[in-house]
Symmetry: C2
Subunit: 336 residues, 2 copies
């Protein structure tokens, strides 16, 4: 059979089969309006019959671009799904595909290393998803011809960055407490090395200090419910504790369970706010008020920033995506 003769069908094969020139086949694909309808049909039939598929490599070589955005996942956690979702949807919409690589578990990857690997791949620009500190963060310089956007709460000297406003979210939650008559707010942190946890803590601290309140020592957690429970047991014994901000919903739930086990009621005795708004998925009739970040939106913004910067890779911007306070009934208004 004719189709078995060659491994790959090229435009030339199609051209011969259709009795036209190579260039005409190219035109049928890239500027169909410029070729007569009868010719177009011939070419289309030939493509169909031979099973032609344009060669990505040749095309990119000629065009000098790939139509792909690189994504480096330094960290792949729960919220990452929504972010990838946002990145992928936005990419799709703008006609880009994603090329992804990941830091291996245990491996220590620097920004420079990530950039080096990415620049061997078919990408026009790249996004780094960076949730922890990395050695060469401040000294890193992105390749001059490859627009680079870093998703991180820290500011970078030369690259564009995009981030949730974690600090602002924490501040918002704190002020929510304070505006309802609470005199102080305790804080349960996530893992020490997590930038999210650090930012949330920073916002909490700032909000209290802005009102002249000395922040009490934060309690160290590890994101999971058990560590929240342990913190809750400690907090239950503090008479001045009327408000607790936990760095995520799981720990907030742990805190609430501990308080309950100690005979205290939420929100009547102690008010609680968490982060990420995901407890309702697991707990029926959940009452937990929570700060929710729009991970999807974050991804969309990051991708748009890359695409916008393709022509001017050295441009630099900083985008913050605000959080939202999802109100339920875990906070008591003490003024009432």
């Amino acid at each position: 059979m004719a189709t078995m003769d060659k491994k790959n069908v090229s435009m030339n094969d199609v051209a011969v089969a259709a009795g036209v020139s190579l260039k005409t086949v190219s035109r049928v694909i890239n500027e169909p309006d410029s070729v007569r309808e009868s010719t177009r049909d011939k070419v289309h039939s030939a493509m169909e019959a031979l099973g032609f598929r344009a060669n990505f490599a040749a095309r990119s070589l000629k065009l000098g671009r790939y139509g792909c955005i690189g994504v480096v996942m330094f960290h792949l956690s729960g919220g990452a799904v929504d972010m990838i979702d946002g990145i992928a949807d936005a990419a799709e919409e703008r006609g880009f595909a994603l090329t992804m690589i990941k830091k291996r578990a245990g491996e220590k990857m620097t920004l420079a290393e990530a950039a080096r690997r990415m620049s061997q791949l078919p990408v026009d620009g790249m996004i780094f998803n960076l949730r922890q500190m990395v050695d060469d963060f401040d000294t890193f310089e992105a390749p001059k011809d490859l627009k680079t956007v870093i998703i991180t709460p820290m500011e970078h000297p030369t690259c564009s960055t995009v981030s949730d406003d974690q600090e602002g979210g924490a501040r918002m939650a704190c002020e929510y407490f304070l505006n309802r008559g609470h005199k102080n707010v305790y804080f349960v942190s996530g893992k020490k090395e997590s930038l999210s946890s650090q930012c949330r803590m920073k916002g909490w601290r700032a909000a209290l200090e802005a009102r002249g309140i000395e922040p009490p020592g934060p309690l160290q957690g590890d994101w999971n419910a058990d560590s929240g429970y342990a913190a809750g047991l400690v907090l239950a014994d503090k008479p001045d504790c009327t408000a607790v901000l936990a760095a995520n919903d799981c720990m907030a739930n742990g805190v609430m369970m501990a308080l309950r086990d100690k005979g205290l009621s939420v929100p009547d005795d102690v008010s609680v706010i968490g982060f990420d708004d995901e407890l309702y998925k697991t707990i029926p009739n959940s009452i937990l008020t929570s700060v929710k970040f729009r991970h999807r939106e974050l991804g969309v913004r990051a991708l748009n920033e890359v695409v916008a910067g393709l022509e001017a890779p050295s441009s630099r911007s900083r985008t913050l995506v605000s959080g939202v306070l999802v109100e339920r009934s875990s906070v008591k208004d003490l003024r009432a």
Copy 2:
């Protein structure tokens, strides 16, 4: 400056700068041992000085392969993170990068459509992550030159498939109940259109029927805790209900909360098993026994299957990754 003269530095530029031929530069990159050390050093310095980076398109064009595996996410849910993690790690290890596209929300994507889009991208093979039914599943034929692996519980006539053994996991959980003296097992399902839910239900049914037990009508849930709670309220009124299998942990938790609110104790009055083993993250001191699937392993297997099939795209295999029962204390042994 010399570095500003050209947009992209080619091997030719390096060759001229180093005073060697184009081919020698190529050799320094691909077979360094075949070039004298002094020459190698000259070339390396030149590459450094000019900031040379090999052109992916040209290289792929010549080699006829990309070193990339395509991933199509028809569905991007919680467990997907671990799976992507597995795929990415395995890819990394074998020297492949990932090229990813995603079905847009609301868009209706068929396998043929996904294959068509992927074959325009730089990929040597592809993985479809398919968690719901799709119109052309049975009629789909993968491109002959592009190894295709589908992650799905259904068998496919021509493509290789990889899946968790969801049915087996459900059977295992059921038998766990039955072996401990339970005479019947109730089932709370996930969303109707989910293949996971359907498979889990099928396994539950099979396990009961194998012992000559008529399965009671399943209760319809939607994966979230509230639907589990509703189911739990119904089950609390059934005197013969001693064992409940919920299609995920969130609903299992809902069931347990409802039972408790109705004055029943878990496991003393009713035993419960869930799926996914994630409740411990959210609930302190969680007692829920759960069937856990190894999503990461699933991803690894899928990638390995693609890579193994690169040379023989039409080969076909079926891989099942077994689940694990994580025992806690939510099941009572009635024989004791």
